[in-house]
Each structure stands twice: as C-alpha cells, then as structure tokens.
C-alpha cells in the first residue's frame, strides 16, 4: 500500500514532525504551498512524541546501549545529479538527542491472582509491592524493559487476532473499572450525567456544552474523572471510603502492560500558557479544533519537606489556610501593583528579583511562592526578568481557569499532529518511515534544488526544513548541543498532595536543594488527562542537566515519593515504575550558521522552557524566511460555515477568507487563495471571519466570570 510513489515536485520539503517543523508545514500548506512532510520514524512528533506504555518500552529499547542503530542500505544515487549540482548527504543514523536512559520498576511483576479477583478495600491496603525488580541497579537497567517487550509482543499478537472477541475478559475488566469509578462518581454525586472521560467531551452532550466542539480551547474542559462506563453511568449509593484516604490499589507491572494503551507518555514535559504563543496560534489558525484541553488545576511547591499549594487566584488567596490575613493582604497588594511598572522596580534593574522581593517585605512564605512558583525564577534571576515572568503568569491567569496553564488531553504529542492534520487538510502530503538521503545543491547559487528520498526518488523543491537530528554533525556550527535536560517519568499510585478531587493536574516547583543546583519542575497528570490508567498518576520531572538525569533527579524522587531508597515516607505516593533520560536542550542548539544551502532551514528540538515560545517563534521565523509576504497561519475556514449550495458560490466575506476550489489529483495547491471555488463538485460559501470575532468575544465573556485576582483590585 505504501509502495505508491511520491509526486516529484513540491514547494517545501520538511523533515521531522516535531512541533516547530509541523507548525511550519501547516503554515506553508495553509497559504497554498505544496508541502511534503516526512519523518523517518514510524510515529509522529519525533522528540516531542508521546507513547503508550508499551510504545515507550520499545522507545527505551531503541535508546539504550546495545541497540542497533537503524541501518540504511548504502546507495549511490549520484546518477540523479544534474549539471552543476552537488550532493549533501543527510545523517542517516539517528544521531539521537537522548542519552543515559535508565529504567526502574518498583512494583511486583504480576498480580497476585486472588487479590485481583477479590480486589476488596482490605486487600488493597497492602503496601509491600516495592523492593521488586531493578531497584538500585545503577547502570541503565534495560533488563526489565527487554524481557517485557518480548512478552508484550506476544500479547499484542493475540489481541490483534481476537480483537473484540474477548467478551469474557472485557466483562471482568469492566467490573474492575466499575469499582474504580465508584469512587470517582462518589466525588461528584450531583453530576451523574457527566460523561466526560473515555469518550471525551464530544459525546452526546445533549444541547449543552457543545461549544467545546467548535473551539475546544475556549473551554478548557473541566474533566471530572474517567467517564463512567455505560454500565456504571449511574451513581450508586455506597458507603464511600473517605476521600482523603483513597483506596490504594496494587498495580502490578503486568497491569501497566495490559492497560498500556491508556498511557500517553510525553518525552517533553511542558504546559501551555493560556495566553502564550502556542495557545494564541492554536486559536488563530483554528488548529485548536483538533485537540481538547484540560486546566492545570493547582500550582504546588515543595518546601521544608512538604508539598504546599500556591495560592494564585483571588479565590485561592482568600481560601488559603497557610496564609495569615496580613500575608493575604500583602500578596494581593503586590500582585496588583506589579502589573504596572513602578519606579521602584527600576531601582532594582540588573539586581536579582529576590532582592526586589525582599525589599517588599513580604515574608518568607510569600517570597518563596513569588520567586519559585509564580516567577519560576532562581535566586540570581534579574528583577526585570522576574517581573516579566510574574506578569506573564498573571496575564494568563483566569483565562480558562484558576491557573495560567492548560494541558492537552492525550499528551503534548498531540499538538504537532494537530498541525500536521491542518497541513494535510490543505494538501500537504505525509509519509512516515520515510526520509531524505541527500540534498542536491546547485553549486553556483548555493541553493538546494531537489532532494533524493530514501528510495532514490528525485524530488524537486524550493525550500527544505530539517530537524536538527537530520543534519550531519560535521555541518553543524557546534558538534554537540552545549546544554542538556534531565528528565524523569514516574508512574505513581497517588498524588503528591491528596485533595478532595483525585483528578488534579498539578505543576510543582521544587527549588534547588543546594545553592547552584538545578530547580526541578514537576508536572503531575491524573487519568482524566488521558495520559495514564485509572488508579495511577503520571509524573514528569524536568531540570537543566548538571550531571546524568538519574543523578540530578533521583534525589528529588526519593524525597517526594516512596521508593525502595526512601526512608520513612509513609503517606507519600509510591513509584511503580520510572524512567530517567537526558535530552538535548533545543534552546542550546544553533539553528543558524550551518554549512548548508541558503534555502535549507534548521529547527532545533524541544527546549527546556515551560511554555512553547521557543518552538513557535522558531517556526514563525522560518515561515517568514520562506514566504516573507504571506500571513502566518491565517484561520482555516470553519467547516460549519461552509455552505454547500449546489450551483452558485457567493462569498460575501471572502476578501480575506480564501476560497479553495476542489482541486484535482495530487500535488495540488498552487495558487491557493485566489481560485474561486468554481471547479466541479460542491461550491461553498465561507463566512468565517465574522463568526470568529464573535466567538472570541464570547470566550472573553466567559473568561471574565472565571477571572480572578489581578486588575480588579
């Protein structure tokens, strides 16, 4: 099926499906460029990908020592060269930006059968699952992964064969799920019909809440728990186990594998600032319709050995039990005043933000919150920078909820794919498991005229965008990135701060434990983000590398969670499984100065920042280099507003909204925008812009209600 040949002429060829590349692809296709978008991997999003648990195990295998690099047959395609051209080979090995991959499994390998059957609350309180396999093994424990991926394949095959014939097994599973859901339904007794969750919000919201479909991003979904399964959709009266001590389930490694597809584990851990560049772009381009989002519900911080909630909205501040009345007043005053520039702050220009905060005499509590959690700064961060991030934080607050952040359902790996979809809708051609062997460069002009793909096809093009990993080291301005990120991914059995709801999404800031150490950012995701199985939490830790990921992050893990290495950590969530790895920090990768033709543009991989500014900024810059005259990601017409009307085609508002007729065949897309949709087939009338605006206002209206803190004072 995939043996079909690619068209042989494009405007832009893009290698790699990470966020920046995908945004460029969408932007180019949107304004009528013919885009070919390739990725040598079998999955989308490259270093930005998210994986099911089983998928992640394969990824781990691929990235641990001893794995064979993808070998590509060596070909000599020099016969495809034309006069005056030379060939620049691209890197065919995967110069992986990942290193120091280490895996630990702290849960038992298999379920104890009886328990699995009974699964009564009594049985569930046992907590002796740790000490299992792999603990304490220092050097890249690939063993568990290997042995289990093997198992896993068998399972997959079986399942593939008898899909949907597993009636009995399913029934059992559902019973189990029902039990889990009981708790959750319990927590929201007044909302029995909330059927968010598995089916997602698109499901049958009978005439209410439908807005989500048109502009999901405008209503960050307040998901409340996994949706009840059909059979258990009704709240049942039951003696609820008190919510403060949720029933602990003993989840085995076998269960993680079995429920593996419920995990969507991101390689990159970021959040979306609700007024940040990514959210703005998603809304502006209408790409937001391909994804759904959930609010980050809490900002937490780790302090004096405890996890505390950072009050950031007005409601939070007033409800806070940690803060005294005086502190509350001081905090409100500070946050309100810092929205405007004051002379005071100018006096602190160039001096650390910490000094500025001290000068405000806020006290230790507030100073900690403001420095580490709100500004997310270090002790050396200059005042201007600290204030800028504080302001950004405050600006984002209240647009969609009580924190400034959103998280996409199913993980961040969805976002690049959403842009790819937009590109495809506008004629972009997609091919995974496919790469480019070399660039053909015209010697006189130093421009890339064509590429030769991995099958030896010559494809001419006017521009090439490549992800850094496709460029041979010798052509880079610096051979290796100068900075790395340390990452850890944990699957745990409870939240770092239990609360009334067990469906919290939390950002936890962990200040450096010693001066000069890295501050760690921890994002804890609950099952309703569709990134982990019920009964577990998915925790991402990120910091700038000082040494290996394990050395940088395991002390934090040991302190905040229960592992075999931790002592006296009753009441802390247990780590069931964890992964450490290092990855290149994209903000330290040079994208200029490569020894490459002038029409070849390089995208760095993901950076370490919390937001997406780096990648979006890079994509926009590349787009403007390719098409200086065109608009970056204008809104795609809303399908709701395309009126098909047999014969005629009028477009009252069509001056800007472009009409794209029904183009024929492949590789179309030339001259988009100008063509009136008079081709055969359906004509359409679009009236996009206007409604857009209206929606925007509605959104804002909504937002005001939720608005908290800031500017109202």
């Amino acid at each position: 099926m995939a043996s079909e040949d690619l068209p042989s002429e494009f405007d832009v060829v893009i290698l790699g499906t990470g966020l920046a590349e995908s945004v460029v692809a969408a932007a180019c296709a949107r304004v009528g460029q013919r885009v070919l978008h390739l990725d040598r991997k079998s999955y989308y999003a490259g270093s930005w990908a998210s994986f099911t648990f089983n998928g992640l195990l394969s990824w781990i295998q691929e990235h641990t020592a001893g794995s064979q690099p993808e070998t590509e047959e060596l070909h000599d395609w020099s016969n495809l060269l034309e006069d005056g051209e030379e060939m620049i080979c691209l890197s065919n090995t995967n110069s992986a930006p990942f290193s120091n991959v280490q895996v630990y499994c702290y849960t038992s390998e298999k379920d104890e059968e009886e328990e699995d059957e009974a699964r009564s609350p009594e049985a569930l309180n046992t907590t002796e699952e740790e000490g299992g396999r792999g603990g304490g093994d220092e050097d890249g424990v690939t063993e568990p992964a290997e042995s289990h991926t093997a198992e896993l394949k068998e399972e997959e095959e079986e399942e593939g064969g008898e899909r949907r014939q597993e009636g009995a097994a399913d029934a059992q599973e559902e019973e189990r799920e029902e039990e889990q859901e009981e708790e959750q339904v319990e927590a929201f007794p007044s909302r029995p019909q909330v059927s968010w969750g598995d089916r997602g919000p698109h499901q049958l919201q009978k005439t209410c809440g439908l807005n989500i479909l048109h502009c999901p991003i405008t209503q960050a979904i307040q998901t409340e728990g996994e949706g009840p399964e059909p059979e258990s959709g009704q709240p049942r009266p039951s003696a609820a186990p008190s919510q403060s001590e949720p029933v602990k389930k003993k989840i085995s490694y076998a269960q993680l594998l079995k429920e593996g597809r419920r995990f969507n584990i991101d390689l990159v851990s970021k959040l979306m600032y609700s007024r940040g560049s990514l959210v703005d772009l998603l809304i502006k381009s209408n790409v937001s319709r391909y994804a759904e989002f959930k609010n980050v519900t809490r900002i937490l911080t780790y302090r004096h050995g405890n996890v505390e909630q950072v009050p950031c909205s007005r409601a939070d501040v007033f409800a806070s039990r940690q803060l005294s009345v005086v502190e509350k007043r001081k905090l409100m005053r500070f946050l309100t005043s810092c929205l405007e520039e004051t002379q005071e702050e100018q006096a602190f220009a160039g001096r650390p933000y910490l000094e500025f905060l001290r000068d405000q005499q806020l006290g230790d509590n507030l100073q900690h919150f403001l420095l580490h959690s709100i500004a997310m700064a270090t002790e050396d961060t200059p005042t201007e920078e600290g204030l800028a991030s504080t302001r950004h934080f405050l600006r984002c607050l209240g647009r969609y909820g009580n924190t400034p952040f959103l998280f996409p359902l199913y993980g961040l790996g969805e976002i690049p794919q959403c842009f790819c979809r937009m590109c495809a809708v506008f004629g972009g051609i997609y091919c995974l498991r496919h790469s480019v062997h070399s660039l053909l460069v015209h010697k006189d002009t130093n421009r890339c005229k064509a590429v030769i793909d991995s099958r030896g096809q010559r494809i001419s093009c006017s521009h090439v965008v490549v992800e850094d990993g496709y460029v041979e080291a010798a052509r880079k301005p610096t051979a290796t990135p100068t900075r790395f990120l340390s990452r850890a991914v944990l699957i745990t059995d409870g939240s770092v701060l239990s609360s009334e709801s067990d469906q919290q999404v939390s950002l936890v800031t962990v200040p450096p434990s010693e001066a000069g150490g890295p501050s760690v950012r921890l994002v804890e995701l609950c099952p309703s983000t569709m990134t982990c199985m019920p009964g577990t939490y998915l925790v991402h830790l990120t910091c700038q590398s000082v040494s290996s990921a394990y050395q940088d992050l395991s002390p934090v893990v040991t302190r905040m969670f229960r592992t075999p290495e931790s002592h006296d950590q009753e009441g802390r969530p247990s780590v069931l499984w964890c992964l450490y790895f290092n990855m290149a920090d994209g903000s330290a990768v040079e994208v200029e100065g490569h020894d490459l033709p002038s029409n070849v543009y390089v995208c760095s991989g993901p950076d370490g920042g919390l937001g997406h500014q780096h990648a979006i900024g890079q994509a926009e810059a590349i787009f403007h280099k390719i098409l200086p005259e065109d608009e970056f990601c204008p809104p795609a017409p809303n399908p709701e507003d395309i009126i098909y009307d047999g014969e005629t085609c009028t477009s009252p508002l069509g001056e800007e909204g472009e009409e794209r007729g029904e183009e024929e065949g492949e590789g179309e897309g030339e001259g988009a925008g100008e063509e009136e949709g008079e081709g055969e087939g359906g004509e359409k009338e679009e009236k996009e812009q206007e409604e857009e605006e209206e929606e925007e206002e509605e959104r804002d209206g909504e937002v005001q209600e939720k608005q908290s803190l800031k500017s109202e004072e």
């Binding site: 899909r163 059927s195 698109h202 809708v425 087939g681 359906g682 359409k684």
Partner: protein
C-alpha cells in the same frame, strides 16, 4: 451557529485505504453529489449534516482522512474522541479488504474503547468487477463485532442508510449511557434527513 439547533452531536471518522471511496461517501451524503474522478479534498476538514431521528435533531460531523492514509501516516489524534468509525473498503479491490486487519489494529490502539465501528464495502455499482464476496465480508465483520453494509456512493445506494443507521446506533448507545428510558431509543431505519439536500429517499 446557535447551540439550540440540534439535540445530539456525533463525530464520525472515515478510514480505509486510499481510493476506496471515503470522500465520495461523505460528499454523496452531505452534498448529494458524486464528483467523478475527484481527488483529495483540499481545505475541508470535516462536513456537517443534520438528520432527524425520531424527532430529535442529530448533527453529524463527518471527518475524512485528508489523504494521510495514502502512505499509512494517519495521525493518532484523528481517532481521538470519534464516536463512530466507518471502515471502508472497495468490493472490487481485494487488497483494500486485506488491509482491514491493519486498520483494526490502529483502531484498537488509538480509538476509544466504546467507539461504534461499521464496515462498509463500497462501489457495489461495479458488481461485475467484484473481488470480495459479500459473505466473506459479512463473516469478517461479524467476527469483529462490526456492523456491515454495502454501498454505492455513485448510485447513492445505502449511503443515507449508512449514516442514519449509524446515528440511530449512536443515539441508542448514548441513551443507554445516560440510562434514559431505553424504549425511547430508535431502531435502525427510523431516521430521516432533514437538510434541504434530502433528495434521496431513505432505503
């Protein structure tokens, strides 16, 4: 775009090999058109059609692959939050039938558990070129607990039925989910189109 103009909204997603007639099915249903020799659909993300099932207005949002199936590169996010999947093959093309297990694996992997899946054998107007016997497809569909229907986008055979039956099934499931009174749930065949293009009568 008022919120009041329908009772239910469902997302239906089409999958299947390139060239089996997915886009034609959608166009036939939503626009009543059959554009011969039409290629990829550019700039149109999904199509909308509102139908009426037992007095309730059901808005169907029908998503096409945007050509990403050509090189087996459909994004996972395409499957997310679909209420129903229409898995299409071409009855005159054995290969498109043989690829079905591959598609099922993708569904298994990325679609949600309760998604309603219907197998559609398209192009029955080309009966003389048939390569996949009806019985074979029916058996396959049954083994996979899928509904099965044969259609012709060209002759408009069973196209309305396909979407209306799907809408009925989705409402039925929805009502079960919310544990509404079950006997109000519609049975297949009780739907009708209400859009101005409903030139074709219900099969």
């Amino acid at each position: 775009m008022s919120m009041e103009d329908y009772d239910y909204l469902f997302k239906i997603v089409l999958i299947g090999n390139a060239g089996v007639g997915k886009t034609c099915l959608v166009r036939r249903f939503t626009q009543g058109l059959f554009p011969p020799g039409q290629g990829a659909t550019i700039g149109v993300d999904f199509m909308i059609k509102t139908v009426e099932i037992k007095g309730e207005k059901v808005k169907l949002q029908i998503w096409d692959t945007a050509g990403q199936e050509r090189f087996r590169s459909i994004t996972q996010s395409y499957y997310r939050s679909a209420n129903a999947l229409i898995l299409t093959y071409d009855i005159t093309c054995e290969d498109s039938f043989r690829c079905l297990p591959e598609w099922l694996r993708e569904i298994e992997q990325y679609a949600n558990n309760q998604v309603v899946t219907i197998l559609v054998g398209n192009k029955i107007d080309l009966a003389e070129k048939r390569e996949v016997l009806r019985q074979r497809a029916e058996d396959f569909a049954e083994a996979q607990s899928m509904l099965y229907l044969e259609t012709s986008a060209k002759e408009s055979d069973n196209v309305e039925k396909l979407f209306l039956d799907l809408a009925c099934e989705l409402i039925r499931e929805a009502k079960q989910n919310t544990l509404d009174n079950n006997d109000t749930a519609p049975m297949p065949g009780e739907g009708k189109t209400i859009s101005y293009l409903s030139c074709c009568s219900l099969n």
